[in-house]
Amino acid sequence: MNLQAALPLTDSAFALTLVALLLAPLAIAGVALINTGLGRSRSAAQALLGDLAMIATAAIAFAVVGAALTGNLPGGAGGAGHSFFVAAKPWNWLGAAPFLMGGLGSAAPLSQLALLLELLAVCMAVLIPWGSGADRLRISAGVAIAAVLGAIIFPLLAHWVWAGGWLAQLGVNFSLGAGFLDGGGAATAHVLGGICALAVVWIAGSRRGKFPKEGLATAMPGHNAVYVAFGCLLALVGWLAWNVAGAVIWLHAPLAALPVTAVNTLLSAAGALAATFTVTRVRFGKPDASLCANGWLAGLVASSACAGVATPAESIFVGLVAGIITPLLVEFFELALSIDDPSGATTVHAVGGLWGLLAAGVFAPQAGQLLAQLIGIATLLGVVLPLVYLVFKLIDRFIPFRVDQDGERIGMDLHELGGGAYPEFVIHRDDSYR
């Protein structure tokens, strides 16, 4: 994906993409609501305030430093930046553009839209680990995570994938299809966020009482299924806009192809929900609301990668697979692997995103595309995950991720904010603290 290779945008395409990008934050709002609803009532206000704090921090960090490292603005677009040569091929690994988004106003319209989408993508990425750390991750730690993601890690990955970096150039340099394809941010926002979620769970540990000394893991259901379901509906609107805008900006799709992209997005989510509904109905006797929400979201995440390259029938298949694996993996991660992830982000965003990226390689028409996608997946697992874990571990030494035992007992709202989200409610005693 190289902005220099794109034809100049027509005025109508620019206007449509801009409007889509103004609707895309609904996806962020949806994820924030889902995170809050899947957490406990005594941490609800802290969860939403943390969302806002992390979005603000990530946006500022990206504007000050990250945009320069991403390299989409004049001076860095399309293959410029820092490269080294191996086997006579350039490996462009870091962008080079002015700091503080210098030159944004005079940049080409497509570059401006690209930067806006990247800004939204980093805001989405930082919310994902926050949901996994619900009920024990401190706001100060979340802000530190957002700062590092916005300033360094997201820009590095976004440059590789979106701004003429080495993954984007796999097609030019090694004849691998069109290079690594990620039209809607499946890799840069969702898999990155899912990987961060896993690192947060590994470092912060499980909620107290989640895994008792003897017996099965304690069920800690989300406190508000209405938030979760409404978040799913909001996310759909945002995702439709996000994938359409991404198709124009990164895949250079003509306007006539955009309705299919939107249809594919909805079909992927629909297929995923149908599959999760069926799987949970068969396994538990009744459909599980929170797992169905996770399935819906996994379908949307998978569509981020392949809505711009698949057909409607293929999108339904992508959604069905995402919807089948999501409830099974959420259960497997919790019961077998001891991963206490209240929002299911590791499964929904990391596994759903990886599946979408793989499916894009399978269904894209270009020869060698599957190999390009596999190399992108190898990069996410082999470089981004270790990097994120090491950086987070370093942050944890200075700003501890986990709240103290007393804070976890009384709830994050009272401990961090001094007041609850639902002051008129009577909070019952939690059996897990006996």
């Binding site: 191996v86 009482g209 190898a378 697992l381 082999g382």
Partner: protein
Amino acid sequence: MKYAGLLVMTAGFFLSIAALVLFAAQAQRGAFVVCGLGVEMLGLVVAVRAHMEARGESRP
């Protein structure tokens, strides 16, 4: 152990990348990249096992 697993994952990445430089044929590249991903999966299993062992020791 977790760090060892992460190191193995990074080794798998370099194996995948080496395929691009060492081979020209897509089939050979594909086989090498899949092997690299397999190594990454082994590393992930080691890291996850380390997490499970640590969690087992710290159970309340």
